[in-house]
Symmetry: C2
Subunit: 139 residues, 2 copies
DNA sequence: ATAATTGCAAAAGCTTTGCATGGCC
DNA sequence: GGCCATGCAAAGCTTTTGCAATTAT
């Protein structure tokens, strides 16, 4: 992703554009396996040896609050970050820590129709996410 | 749940039956909102003022390893424990920490059929769980 | 100019670990 | 009796917080 787009993304949320924020956002796009804060710190450590851990967490929090990132968490796992903020599901590898995004509008429609016809008692649905666990096959 | 059933549950996994294990298992059944380790420690603290935090974590881990409990984790949350080990989904309240179990075999079948007809490329599905977020309506 | 962001370091929160003691089978 | 579980306390790891210095707008 071009630097200019990263800057625009930060600007678009009315956040101050700092080198740290741009670097962190870039790292998340480069590390495309839903990186942890630790992954991000290591990645940008090459160019920002003195970046503060606290800064990374603060920036990540502000990105989440402003809809630039989503948090992803699983059993037995630390927090991970997902730059895809549009509605989607996740494929979890049960043999590694790989997580991949998954979109299937047809399935979403199927599920929505199901719940339109058969409501859950005493519950108003806002959002449905699938956690699909399995094994990635090598091509 | 009767004490005897709790004892049987522990025995059935070939785990030694100790008062702590029985108390912890009972607590999880009584605290029916997918309790945290902290919730459990507080609950059994009445009868076991000296129960060690480490013990609770060790017992929970062994219960999970032996299929007596499942772990449940969400964004921004600590680990919680679920005594229902059969396949099911979860309803998450977006205004509180309430989590409720949800079963819908018809929906499961619908989704299974969908993926039978339309496989995910390079991925072998082992399990599908729905995270349904919304609001619990008061009756 | 000024309000927000950063770095640093300390602290907090949850969970794990090691080891001696004690309890279950 | 032997082995496993417990209690205790320390440590580990991720994340948060406070504050002074710095930086973006």
């Amino acid at each position: 992703m071009k630097e200019i787009n990263l800057v625009e993304k930060v600007k678009s949320k009315k956040l101050k554009v700092t080198p740290q924020r741009v670097a962190i956002l870039e790292a998340i796009y480069m590390l495309d396996n839903h990186p942890t804060a630790e992954n991000i710190i290591q990645y940008i450590g090459k160019n920002y040896p003195n970046i503060a851990v606290g800064t990374v967490y603060k920036v990540l929090e502000s990105f989440v609050d402003n809809g630039l990132l989503n948090r992803v968490k699983t059993e037995n796992d630390v927090m991970r970050y997902d730059p895809m903020v549009e509605n989607h599901h996740h494929l979890y590898c049960c043999e590694s820590d790989k997580i991949e995004n998954f979109e299937d509008p047809e399935l979403d429609h199927l599920i929505a129709e199901h719940f339109r016809k058969k409501k859950i008692k005493n519950f108003k649905i806002k959002d449905i996410k699938l956690q699909i666990t399995g094994i990635f096959k090598n091509k």
